[in-house]
């Protein structure tokens, strides 16, 4: 695993900052009633998403969940894609058929999640399985929350991946909460990493608010997968700094716990680190922030101006276009 270059470290910063600013803009749009449906943020978890996805190489496949905006940006989706998706615009990756971060483009290496948590794990195992059959030396990466690890599909998918020794990296984001349910009500397991023994696969717990630590642990897991050594569970210990969604004021969260984590804001911490190490000056970071901010505004504006899908699109795309049979073809030609 080669050291990250200065440039790469800046890219990490840019992705995290973009995540933050896109979300802030989404909150503004939500308040204006322009976001359709709910708004699920990843405030405080930007390092986990960005650091993990950054460990992938071109050709690898990612299956993001709703708190993985940063991962989606790393994979090349634009803020405009994200805005358009949240606003239900025709230009969104799902063409307005689905919302929030339920987006994917096979050619861009991103598989869209469904809401049912855990379901993506067996699917990404299947992606890894296919890749191996196709002799494509690629790695599949996906995510699961602390709550999501309690689902049956998580278990079946992890066990399947272990039994088949698939090139799969599962990043378990332990942010302490599943909606209003704290980890201690979710499971008696001491950590999410403890779930790995059940599948005979290695696990590693890492500070999810430290983007470099997340990157390194993920890179180790990706290397292992690519080398044919099978799946890894990477537990990223982080915190959901907002409620489950914008409507949730997270009253149920102990104030002190929240405050302690706010002091550990992953972006601020990384900015400090970049500054203190002398790698990137304050000024340069401020300039980057300004640039991103302008770009985010611009892209939000584009998405805002994008049209909604035409009503008749609702009926299209359920099945592949019917193959043209000779009889029909003949009729069409005449």
């Amino acid at each position: 695993m080669p050291e990250l270059t200065r440039q790469q470290r800046i890219v990490l910063y840019r992705h995290m900052r973009t995540t933050r600013l896109v979300e802030e803009k989404l909150v503004a749009l939500y308040r204006q009633g322009k976001v359709v449906g709910g708004l699920y943020r990843c405030l405080g978890q930007e390092a986990t998403a960005v650091g993990s996805a950054f460990a992938l190489s071109r050709g690898d496949i990612l299956g993001p969940l709703i708190r993985n905006l940063g991962s989606v940006l790393v994979m090349g989706f634009t803020p405009r894609d994200v805005f358009a998706q949240h606003m239900g615009k025709a230009s969104s990756p799902s063409g307005g058929k689905d919302g929030n971060l339920h987006l994917g483009r096979p050619e861009q290496g991103v598989v869209s999640a469904i809401s049912m948590l855990g379901a993506l794990i067996p699917v990404m195992a299947g992606v890894a399985l296919a890749a191996r059959m196709q002799r494509r030396n690629l790695v599949a990466m996906t995510y699961i929350g602390d709550g999501g690890t309690s689902t049956g599909p998580f278990h079946e998918g992890m066990n399947f991946a272990g039994a088949q020794r698939l090139p799969l990296v599962v990043v378990a984001e332990n942010n302490g909460w599943a909606y209003s349910t704290p980890l201690r009500k979710q499971t008696a397991a001491k950590s999410l990493a403890d779930r790995a023994a059940a599948y005979g696969i290695p696990a590693e717990s890492v500070d999810g608010n430290d983007v470099l630590a997340v990157f390194e642990a993920s890179a180790r897991a990706v290397d292992r997968a690519r080398a044919g050594a099978g799946p890894t569970l990477v537990e990223a210990i982080t915190y959901r700094m907002k409620g489950h969604a914008e409507h949730d004021n997270q009253e149920y969260v102990p104030k002190q716990e929240l405050e302690a984590w706010i002091r550990r804001d992953p972006i601020e911490a990384y900015a400090r680190e970049l500054g203190e190490s002398g790698l990137v000056g304050r000024e340069e970071l401020a300039a980057i922030d300004r640039e991103i901010s302008a770009e985010v505004e611009h892209q939000a504006d584009l998405a805002d101006k994008d049209p909604y899908p035409a009503a008749e699109r609702a009926l299209e795309g359920v099945y592949a276009a019917a193959p043209i049979t000779p009889r029909v073809a003949a009729r069409e030609r005449s």
């Binding site: 239900g88 689905d98 709550g147 049956g152």
Partner: protein, 333 residues
């Protein structure tokens, strides 16, 4: 959207409050009743159906569970076998699918196979109109209607919401209770006083009419009432039957209505193929054939997932306009 304006003397209750009140009364009446589900305790449920119940009944009777639909329903089955009366919440009706096997194979078949019935309720919010997208808007009731051993209920009014949840909790068999989330805070009733129980298996005629019967349930009852007002102004007198229970169907009320009008529209928000409307149409075509003066019409969502974007969802959902169009054609048949 209330059926009748509340008299000043007594306060009215929303649909969501009515469900809560029904659960609360049953928990007070019968200490075998308890709740379990994701976020039903401290948070009071994603839609606040169980708000305040933890404070009232304590952690043992209002259980925040892990994120595990199969375990939630499975634990309810086990508890019911032990003589308890569990009420399990699925955070959205879409997630009933995650407990499909437990519901259809364990709960539904237990009495038949072993003589041990499992009195339990699985409830959750269904339906669209709130831009929830493909996984927070579904109407999965018909998926379960093919399962002998289950009962299925969906109230349209606040009064029925209370009366039916109470009946469901008292029922000796597993009842799936679908709440239409669009109605939670949009409809209200002055609830009947006392122990208000609406028997499972009985439909209600919401509007008497001579020309055609609209057979429907859930939020679509209100759509039908809207449409009936329009149709009335055009001289078409529609009868509206609120099915309330989808399994078993109240054949007596359905057949009597269609027997009178000779024309039937089945209206539902769920997608068309294999929906509840199919079963109703089939029964009418078999048992009321001689009464039928016209084709049986289904007005439903089309056969697609529920799209997210507002113009798409609007195109997807049945509404009064689409219903009126069908009703006019049928009346003129």
């Amino acid at each position: 959207m209330t059926v009748s304006p509340p008299p000043a003397s007594r306060p009215s209750t929303t649909y969501v409050e009515a469900i809560r009140e029904g659960i609360l009364e049953e928990m007070e009446r019968d200490d075998r009743v308890f709740l379990l589900g994701e976020d039903v305790g401290v948070y009071g449920g994603a839609f606040k159906v169980s708000e305040g119940l933890l404070a009232r009944f304590g952690e043992e009777r209002v259980l925040d569970t892990p994120l595990s639909e199969t375990a939630i329903v499975g634990a309810a089955v086990g508890a019911a076998l032990m003589g308890m009366r569990p009420v399990a919440e699925m955070q959205f009706a879409d997630f009933f699918s995650c407990a499909f096997d437990m519901i259809t194979n364990f709960a539904a078949k237990s009495r038949y196979r072993t003589g041990a019935g499992v009195p339990l309720v699985v409830r959750g919010p269904s339906g669209g109109g709130v831009h929830g997208g493909p996984f927070h808007s579904q109407n999965p009731e018909a998926y379960f209607a093919h399962t002998p051993g289950l009962k299925i209920v969906q109230p349209a009014t606040a009064a029925d919401a209370k009366g039916l949840i109470k009946a469901a909790i008292r029922d000796e068999d597993p009842v799936l209770f679908f709440e239409h989330k669009y109605l939670y805070r949009r409809v209200r009733d002055v609830l009947p006083e006392g122990d208000h129980v609406v028997p499972i298996g009985q439909a209600a005629v919401r509007r008497a009419g001579r020309d055609l019967s609209i057979l429907t349930y859930g939020a679509m009852v209100w759509t039908a009432l809207d449409a009936a007002a329009t149709l009335e102004s055009e001289g078409i007198d529609a009868e509206i039957v609120d099915l309330r229970t989808l399994l078993p169907l109240d054949e007596e009320t359905i057949f009597a209505s269609v027997g009178r009008t000779g024309k039937a529209i089945v209206l539902h928000e769920a997608t068309r193929t294999g929906g509840i409307g199919a079963e109703i149409a089939a029964r009418l075509a078999e048992r009321c054939f001689e009464s039928l003066d016209a084709p049986i019409v289904r007005v439903t969502a089309p056969d697609t997932p529920v799209p997210f974007s507002p113009p798409l969802e609007e195109a997807f959902l049945p509404n009064a306009e689409k219903l009126c169009k069908a009703a006019r054609a049928l009346a003129g048949y």
